[in-house]
């Protein structure tokens, strides 16, 4: 990033040349590398299982509520925008903007998680759980009528595991974001040193990106 600040971007004077980024940023990159592999395990398994038994997966919109989740996806993308705004604000020395956009990001993130919880409650209520259908439920009746796949165990397993772990990551992100916001209100971030804002931003954009992949392959395909 060209506009990054030289005061903390360069390694300390008494070090051999490293990656050219400060420790927290490099550490977050490495950690996100491991996160990529973690989601690869889940998403890869989903793809293999889906190719193995395509008949156990409902048509898009058959069970999952696409419009609600599409709105939720839009919200999460918006939160990435506010995150970028927060970073730009602190970099320009705009403390008020930093606080405003961080609070916005926290609120949107929390909304996303709430909507996801609401979605889970709905699905479970209608009879779609990690082990497939609940006997006698609305979805089970539809399946008996031939409108849904007869057996959706694998679908339930992978849907709840993948979106659940993503939701867990968003929740963790919101908690860390609250911490960063508190520090922002204490005035700990300056135009020259705002590592916390940048590092949490990296994580936030990553989680956002994972969601776009999940939304595409779980809901739309």
């Amino acid at each position: 990033m060209a506009h990054a600040n030289a005061a903390y971007m360069d390694p300390p004077a008494h070090r051999e040349i490293g990656a050219g980024v400060y420790n927290e940023k490099l550490g977050m990159w490495v950690f996100l590398g491991s996160e990529v592999l973690f989601f690869t395990a889940l998403i890869g398994s989903y793809i293999i299982l889906r190719f193995g038994t395509p008949e156990a997966f409902a048509e898009p919109g058959g069970i999952l509520n696409i419009p609600v989740t599409a709105v939720n996806t839009f919200l999460l993308i918006c939160s990435s925008v506010t995150m970028v705004k927060a970073f730009a604000a602190v970099h320009d020395g705009d403390q008020k903007g930093l606080k405003l956009y961080l609070v916005a990001t926290v609120l949107i993130g929390a909304t996303f998680v709430s909507v996801q919880v609401f979605e889970y409650v709905q699905l479970i209520h209608e009879g779609f759980v990690p082990s497939g259908y609940v006997a006698g439920s609305h979805f089970a009746e539809l399946a008996a009528a031939g409108e849904l796949p007869a057996n959706v165990n694998i679908y339930g397993s992978s849907f709840y595991t993948m979106t659940g772990f993503h939701g867990f990551h968003v929740t963790m992100g919101v908690i860390c974001m609250v911490y960063v916001t508190i520090k922002a209100f204490q005035g700990k971030y300056t135009a020259t040193d705002h590592r916390g804002v940048e590092v949490i931003g990296l994580y936030w954009h990553f989680v956002d990106l994972v969601w776009i992949i999940l939304f595409t392959i779980v809901y739309l395909v």
């Binding site: 360069d10 390694p11 300390p12 004077a13 008494h14 070090r15 051999e16 040349i17 490293g18 990656a19 400060y22 420790n23 927290e24 490099l26 550490g27 490495v30 950690f31 590398g33 491991s34 996160e35 592999l37 973690f38 989601f39 690869t40 395990a41 889940l42 398994s45 293999i48 299982l49 193995g52 038994t53 156990a56 759980v129 990690p130 082990s131 497939g132 057996n151 165990n153 694998i154 339930g156 397993s157 992978s158 709840y160 595991t161 772990f165």
Partner: protein, 588 residues
């Protein structure tokens, strides 16, 4: 120069302050204390894993015999003095689990990664000291969860350390529910600890090298720990993901690995070995690195072919990452894939051979000082070669048809993990003990321990090749059930007695380790006349390691250099012709 730079982390603001006992020794952020904490924890793990092996060997050597001390176990494990098959399966599972996850991996990566990286690259501490502390305490939580499995209803997991589904996925197949779930939970928690540690190692090696410590002046131990950390980041999350899926299969009714509900049992094997084969190299690469340090020191010669050693480490790691399928030749996987995996597996022999010949090249025309670390390091090379060569048999798919899942593979893994990694650890512990504790271990008892361990190790594991070639399956509770294994009972008994003697020999090591801590000869700053930066600070080093970060002028293996009178030339020692790193065009 050093004072002008701000502290890396706010934690270092505590420099020079008197810390409370708890902050200094329990919740410490000092990489050296954390290294020692990992050392004590994993030595306990090593002891427990060893005792489980003794119980297993008793059963195999004397299948009908009443087990010594059998009375201390409840009736659900040892009934009427005779071990029950379900307990045997638990022991087989937990021996593997403890040795891999709670002994060798933390010993190599947790202990020496923590202890050596900052000291050898010239950093005051890790990049993230607090995360480092968390990495240890998360590992403690993982250990507690794993231990708890022994005391729950139904006993501990019986599915083998490889946890093949569906045996591990549904309590109805083994009768174990809670123990199985604790196993998976513990591994997921431990995975977090490893990833936190690896993140720290990578960041530290990349960003915190002392001036003049260029990439190709890094000691091989640091290179191998750095590459290992990358493997950890790439491999462990896959295991965590797989363990979580299996945990859900057990608890909330998902069916990832349950064939009757559309899941795929073989998917578990792919995920497990996608982690598991890099794991094998996580368990050997740091050992190779540390042995390189000791062999150069003991030979009083520069490492032969330093650059090819570095490239061999990278090549092994890369190949190790794409060969997982060779664990699955007989699993029903597509046979064409078997061919691909065989070829890539065979090629691992090449970088491995490069390393072995370079170690021999280092010893060639040296001035060999056979101190205890050196003896153990030579034993590492000698035993690793056997483990490496026996690997070729399994890599060859047709031969693997016959020896797969027999004692041949048991012999192979123990030649690599015990003969390899553990001898390297004996070398490393005895070599760096004076730095860690400020006292020398007894040289004489170290020799006795080495000799007994070397002899009984071979008497224990060499005959296992023969057992495997006769078709003796692994993980069986009672070989006397089979006609074709009857003639092996004498060999099995011989192996068992050797194994007991091998275990007893370790008492010497334990005593030497503990007693030297209190009564050992005081260690000087550089007792082995070595070149590394860790030997330029007192034994043990203070918090922060050096008053001023040292400057590095040369590679780590300048032994017997014609430039100086002595047979060693430390990395930080400035000779008249040496340029400052900045002047030489490096540094910032």
């Amino acid at each position: 120069m050093a004072t002008s730079a701000p502290p890396i982390d706010a934690v270092h603001a505590g420099h020079g302050h008197e810390l409370s006992f708890i902050r200094k020794y329990i919740f410490s952020t000092d990489h050296k204390i954390i290294g020692v904490q990992f050392l004590l924890l994993s030595l306990v793990g090593l002891f427990l894993g060893g005792m489980m092996a003794m119980a297993i060997r008793w059963q195999l050597g004397f299948p009908e015999g009443s087990m010594p001390l059998g009375g201390i176990f409840p009736e659900t494990m040892v009934s009427g003095g005779v071990m029950l098959p379900e307990f045997y399966n638990s022991l087989v599972t937990m021996h593997g689990t403890f040795m891999v996850f709670f002994a060798v991996m933390p010993l190599l990566v947790g202990v020496f990664g923590n202890y050596l990286i900052p000291l050898k690259i010239g950093a005051e501490d890790m990049a993230f000291p607090r995360i480092n502390m968390w990495s240890f305490w998360v590992a403690v939580i993982g250990t507690v969860i794993m231990m708890a499995g022994f005391w729950v209803e139904g006993g501990h997991s019986q599915a083998g350390w490889t946890q093949y589904a569906p045996l591990s996925a549904d309590p109805q197949w083994t009768g174990v529910a809670t123990g199985q779930q604790l196993w998976l939970l513990s591994i997921a928690v431990l995975g977090l600890s490893s990833i936190l540690g690896a993140t720290n190692y990578i960041t530290t090696v990349v960003n915190l090298r002392a001036p003049g410590m260029t990439w190709f002046r890094l000691p091989l131990s640091i290179w191998s720990l750095f590459i290992t950390a990358i493997l950890v980041v790439l491999a462990i999350p896959i295991l965590s993901g797989a363990a979580i899926m299996l945990f859900f299969d057990q608890t909330i009714g998902t069916s990832f690995f349950n064939a009757t509900a559309g899941g795929q049992p073989i998917l578990w094997q792919h995920l497990f070995w996608y982690f598991g084969h890099p794991e094998v190299y996580i368990l050997i690469l740091p050992a190779m690195g540390m042995v390189s340090e000791v062999i150069a020191n003991g030979s009083r010669k520069p490492i032969f072919g330093y650059h090819s050693m570095v490239y061999a480490i990278i090549a092994i790691a890369f190949l190790g990452w794409i060969v997982w399928g060779h664990h699955m030749f007989q699993s029903g996987m597509n046979p064409t894939l078997g061919m691909t995996f065989m070829i890539s597996t065979m090629f691992i022999a090449v970088p491995s051979a490069i390393k072995v010949f370079n170690w021999m090249g280092t010893m060639w025309r040296g001035n060999l000082t056979l101190h205890v670390p050196m003896l153990n390091a030579i034993a590492f090379v000698a035993m690793f070669v056997i483990g490496g060569l026996s690997g070729v048999y399994m890599a060859s798919t047709p031969v693997d048809i016959y020896i797969h899942d027999t004692y041949f593979i048991v012999a192979h893994i123990h030649y690599v993990l015990f003969g390899g990694s553990l001898f390297a650890l004996f070398a490393a512990i005895t070599f760096w003990y004076p730095k860690m504790f400020g006292r020398m271990m007894s040289e004489a008892w170290g020799r006795v321990h080495f000799a007994l361990t070397f002899v009984f190790f071979n008497l224990t594991f060499w005959p296992m090749h023969y057992l495997g070639l006769q078709g003796h399956m692994r993980r069986i509770y009672d070989p006397s059930q089979y006609e074709f294994l009857q003639h092996l009972s004498g060999t099995n008994r011989f192996v068992t007695i050797s194994a007991f003697l091998l275990m007893v020999s370790q008492v010497i090591f334990a005593a030497n380790f503990i007693l030297s801590w209190f009564y050992g000869k005081k260690a000087s700053e550089n007792p082995w006349n070595d070149n590394g930066l860790e030997w330029s600070t007192p034994s043990p080093p203070p918090h922060g390691n050096w008053p001023d970060v040292p400057t590095v002028y040369r590679g780590p293996y300048e032994f017997s250099s014609p430039e100086v009178e002595e047979d060693f030339l430390p990395q930080h020692q400035k000779l008249p012709g040496d340029l400052e790193p900045e002047a030489a065009g490096r540094g910032s």
